[in-house]
Amino acid sequence: MQTAWSADEHKIKQASLGRQKRRESVVGYSFIAPSVILLLVFLVLPFMFAFLFGFTKFNLLRPDKIQFIGLDNYKLLFQDNLFYKSLFNTLYFTVIVVPVQSAVALMLALLVNHQLKLRNVYRIAYFSPVVTSMTVIAILWISLYNPNEGLINSALNFFEIPKQPFLRSSDQAMHSIIFMSVWQAAGYQMMIFLAGLQGISKDIYEASSIDGANRFQQLRFITIPSLYNVTVFVLTITTIQAVKLFVQPYIMTNGGPENTTRTLALLIYQQGFQFRNAGYASAISVIFFLIVVFISFSMKKFFRDR
């Protein structure tokens, strides 16, 4: 009797607890519903479409004539020299920009972290390119890089260095874009590093200077190790930004000269919107997606293992 009663009570308790839990989860789900729905509609669904379109011949102007062609787009893709070239350019840009930009950002952060006069002026100066539209900056740099009368060439002229073609040369175009991209974006990573730097307790520096550590040793053994997590974050977002490279070559070189600045994003745009081959462009974007996933996973694994 006793046991039966207690079992009943237990059940009731259990049930009400379950109800409460359920109610809680309903509330919880309703809180995340807006963002989940938006994500589904605007991110997941379009990607599913892109995945499906990748198997079709689909002229943007002829949605009625969409045609299933199996893996033809992918076959074409793997024979397309321009695809490999674009992939190479994208990776080349990433491999150079990520370490250089992060290093520059760290140096700037260390610089403006000191008790300099006009410290805020420097901070604003380094950060201002970040908040300016990339399109505006790209157009500005086209004139800086002007092969005949650009400011940079005038400066070189002062040092009696001959005029350089910059964006109008297959050898220099990508490097010119890399240089201006680092200049433009380093300020953002600088801010993140700066936040990290200010999170390091002063006590550690004081303790180390009592132990006789010099400035360099402090940097090497305190600052850099303390910034590990911040660095991982900076490297990850910089990589993601870098593989997306689009605006600079789109505005400054249109992928030229001789496709030396054509990136995957630019190739996708050209095929999809300019040539209206939505099917083929979707196939490229699926491959692009897989590459980004692969890079992100490897980076995550690399940093977790350390």
């Binding site: 892109a50 092969p147 000269p257 496709n259 300019q274 939505a278 979707s282 974007s285 997606f289």
Partner: protein
């Protein structure tokens, strides 16, 4: 990681076409159309936003149309911002996908074949008399015709001429020709550039932009040599864009670039400021010249190849009837109205672009005298429309890319061969029947 996925999905979204519809303004009177029994047919008309002067001509002409057809047809214009140069075309693409095209659409000349091949617009042959067709300047008929059917007439024409700085010409004792038979050849033009390119002055200014301009202007060097970018049917580029004459034309451009006779990244006002002796440009440049009182300018013909044909670029926005229209007959009436002599004359007067009808030229005396006479002569006799082909977007992009590559030193033949390969491959894959 999550960000990586999101990034990639965003890239994918680019493809699925989240087109940004431009802001729209409506023009045209909003009169009530409520008289019972007699139903008024409503027509929608889309066109991209232009300068105020041009927009006003359309508003006025449509008001007049609605008055003339009161109680029968009412046309409403929707002006779509172009933003960058593709926003309008993007909107058309989106409307095609959702079957929401208006009755009457404005489109850029080279797109006509593309839209006609995709059955987006319908042929209008039955609505235009022979007299009409003879009154249109030849390039308008050429640009509006696809597979022997006429789809879309233009309101105005365009042309490219060689402007010259009179002071610089006088300084070197050069007299640019003002008769068609004396038009400069490439070599003569080259000599002029060679003579005048000194002390920070370029021999010419000829890069308006590195996109559509490249095809629009420089296809003529191919035509003057007796070839073209693609064959007449538009099915093949190999043997045309990379023909012997084509290679010669591109090599000429490369020579000018190598000798630094023009600036590949010019300031838009280089010629106006006296920093270039000549300039390849169009009537649209003329209004801006007024802001430079020191500039004395003249016009001469688009240079031709020695022994080749005199030729000049052409092409303009045109209007057609969409295949989605439920009232094609009335829509055709509207197209006729928008491209008749009055509309053509009024637009030509408002924006100083040449008219698309010979009869309109006759009503404008200024085109009978120098310098504008040169423009009229080119438009009415030697103009050529850009290639009529459904794969035009690929052709123009790749051709423009190749010309820039060639100007900065790429191998001429290899670059042109590449254009031919890509075009032929594209045509075979997507348009061959």
């Amino acid at each position: 990681m999550k960000k990586g996925i999101i990034t990639a999905i965003l890239a994918a979204m680019l493809i699925t076409g989240c087109s940004s519809g431009g802001q729209t303004n409506e023009a045209g009177s909003e009169g009530s159309s409520g008289n019972a029994g007699n139903e008024v047919i409503e027509l929608n008309f889309w066109r991209p936003q232009a300068g105020e002067a041009e927009d006003n001509v359309y508003v006025k002409r449509i008001e007049e149309f609605n008055k003339a057809y009161e109680g029968k047809i009412k046309m409403k214009m929707e002006v779509i911002t172009r933003g960058n140069s593709f926003a309008y075309e993007d909107k058309i693409n989106a409307a095609v996908a959702s079957n929401t095209l208006p009755d009457v659409i404005a489109m850029d000349g080279p797109n006509i074949a593309n839209y006609a091949a995709s059955d987006i617009i319908i042929p209008l042959d039955e609505h235009f008399t022979e007299e009409d067709m003879n009154d249109f300047v030849p390039s308008i008929v050429q640009q509006g015709t696809f597979k022997e059917k006429f789809y879309a007439p233009g309101l105005n024409e365009s042309s490219v001429v060689l402007f010259y700085n009179k002071k610089i010409m006088d300084q070197y004792g050069i007299t640019p020709p003002d008769k068609m038979e004396d038009a400069w050849t490439w070599e003569e033009w080259y000599d002029v550039m060679k003579t005048t390119a000194k002390d920070g002055v370029f021999g010419t200014n000829m890069i308006n932009d590195k996109g559509e301009w490249m095809t629009y202007a420089f296809e003529q060097l191919w035509i003057s040599g007796g070839t073209d970018l693609v064959n007449d049917e538009g099915t093949k580029a190999d043997g045309f864009v990379n023909s012997e004459q084509g290679i010669e034309a591109a090599a000429f451009l490369q020579k000018l670039a190598n000798e630094k006779l023009f600036n590949i990244d010019p300031k838009p006002t280089e010629f106006e400021e006296g920093k270039a002796a000549t300039k390849l440009g169009g009537p649209w440049n003329i209004p801006g010249f007024k802001n430079y009182p020191d500039l004395e300018w003249g016009i001469t013909y688009f240079p031709k190849k020695a022994g080749g044909a005199l030729t000049a670029p052409s092409g303009s926005w045109a209007v057609g009837v969409s295949a989605d229209s439920e009232h094609p007959k009335e829509a055709a009436e509207a197209v006729k109205w928008l491209t008749n002599k009055d509309s053509s004359t009024e637009l030509a007067k408002a924006i100083s672009m040449p008219a698309s009808r010979k009869s309109a030229f006759e009503s404008m005396a200024e085109y009978n005298e120098l310098p504008l006479r040169i423009i009229k002569e080119q438009v009415t006799t030697v103009s050529n429309a850009r290639p009529v082909t459904p794969a035009y977007p690929v052709l123009t992009q790749k051709f423009a890319e190749a010309l820039i590559d060639i100007m900065v030193g790429a191998d001429v033949k290899k670059s042109l061969d590449n254009v031919a390969d890509i075009y032929d491959e594209e045509f075979k894959r997507n348009f061959a029947e």
